[in-house]
């Protein structure tokens, strides 16, 4: 019990939020960035709005049927799924829901953090969260946080580093891409010693990584890169689209 309280205090004190997202993307379903608020898992569409998580049964694709809605908090911002879990990012914390019963998501964890904008991605055992204190969500700290989610109902903050104004993020094998003042690429193969290995000097607020391709969107340009897993510094700019 004391241990639990300790963890809770630790989490509150250090504030974090982990949202996970690693969409298990099947071929028939498209792919969004880390700022998405809609996600499809098998025969269900999940959506978040300011305060609710909604579930639609899409067994008949053309006729979605709303099957559940639940109040989950205020200032909900992002939604991702990894494995059989949904990760919900809000301006004040992160929530993890189990989809064991896909029509009734069950809350497994709620982690509070200081007030900030907070998209998230997740992979097996870890969740990565950016908190952008520069974006008008309240708060002033801008950080990247890493959570150990091996016990999914008790995420534990394992590291935090200060960044400039981190926004969207994405995973590419053992690399984490973070949209900061430029796109920063971290080697996360050793989770206890995350290192910057490369940076793309472009301004972007979100990324989609699909296969070996990186799509990054900024306020004025959309960039597409070819990535090389074996030589992460060898990124080839395929196109820049002025938008």
């Amino acid at each position: 019990m004391k241990k639990h309280i300790f963890y809770i205090i630790l989490i509150i004190a250090f504030s974090c939020d982990s949202d996970g997202q690693l969409d298990t993307v099947s071929q028939d379903t498209g792919q969004g960035g880390s700022l998405a608020q809609f996600t499809i898992v098998n025969n269900y569409l999940y959506t978040v709005d300011q305060s609710s998580l909604n579930v639609f049964n899409i067994s008949n694709l053309e006729k979605p049927v709303q099957v559940n809605t639940s109040f989950i908090g205020f200032d909900i911002e992002t939604l991702f799924h990894f494995n059989n879990d949904l990760y919900v990012g809000s301006q004040t914390g992160m929530f993890i829901y189990s989809l064991d019963n896909p029509e009734e998501p069950k809350q497994l964890a709620a982690v509070s953090h200081f007030r900030a904008c907070d998209p998230v991605v997740a992979k097996q055992n870890y969740a990565f969260v950016t908190l952008d204190g520069s974006a008008g969500c309240g708060g002033t700290l801008s950080v990247l946080e890493v959570y150990d989610t091996s016990n999914i109902s008790e995420p534990v903050l394992i590291s935090r580093r200060n960044l400039v104004a981190p926004k969207g993020l994405g995973l590419f094998n053992n690399f984490l891409f973070v949209c900061d003042d430029e796109i920063k690429i971290f080697d996360i193969s050793n989770i206890n010693e995350i290192k910057l290995v490369h940076a793309l000097n472009v301004s972007a607020f979100d990324v989609i990584i699909r296969g070996n391709e990186l799509i990054a969107i900024g306020n004025t340009n959309l960039y597409q890169y070819q990535l090389n897993e074996n030589d992460i510094k060898n990124t080839t700019l395929l196109s820049t689209l002025n938008i």
């Binding site: 379903t29 694709l61 053309e62 969107i217 196109s239 689209l241």
Partner: protein
């Protein structure tokens, strides 16, 4: 907590003040600096159409499905690109969906927030015909203005966007 409630109530109440007087001081704390853009429901439900390519104004969320790259124009719709060659994405049109900020696609059906409604939109493989196959009405909360106001709507009126008032 009480304080938050009180603030919420103040905001809610103040939102009942009519938003349209352009001579008003836009710094008035009890009136939004934004004008609510509304349509009647019949016109609103007919407003989802495919258009020629449209100029980009504000960048929203991105989505990829097969060879298509989709860029949201917040509250207006989606720029559609054929991305079969990522070295040369080609703008092939604009899916106008008022109030839209999110999309998710499975097979040939897109799910989009159309203001407060969720719509299912059937697409063909060339992305040049669309059909709304279902509309779940009033699923989503009313959009709050960027400065925190709710609209004062007539019955049958749908809010689709907020634009900065021009004085």
């Amino acid at each position: 907590m009480k304080k938050i409630l009180l603030l919420g109530l103040i905001m809610f109440n103040s939102s009942c003040i009519y938003l349209g007087h352009e001579e008003d001081d836009i710094t008035d704390p009890f009136e939004s600096s934004y004008k609510a853009i509304t349509l009647n429901r019949e016109a609103f439900e007919q407003s989802t159409v495919l258009l020629e390519e449209q100029p980009h104004e504000t960048s929203g969320r991105i989505y990829v499905k097969d060879n298509y790259l989709i860029i949201n124009e917040p509250n207006k719709g989606f720029h559609i690109y054929n991305n079969v060659n990522p070295k040369l994405p080609i703008n092939i049109g604009f899916l106008k969906v008022l109030g839209a900020t999110n999309i998710s696609i499975k097979n040939n059906v897109a799910y989009i927030n159309n203001a407060r409604d969720l719509i299912a939109v059937k697409l063909n493989s060339e992305f040049n015909t669309i059909e709304i196959t279902k509309r779940v009405k009033n699923m989503f909360p009313e959009k709050v203005s960027p400065d925190g106001f709710l609209p004062d709507l007539e019955e049958n009126e749908v809010l689709v966007n907020w634009v900065l008032k021009t004085n």
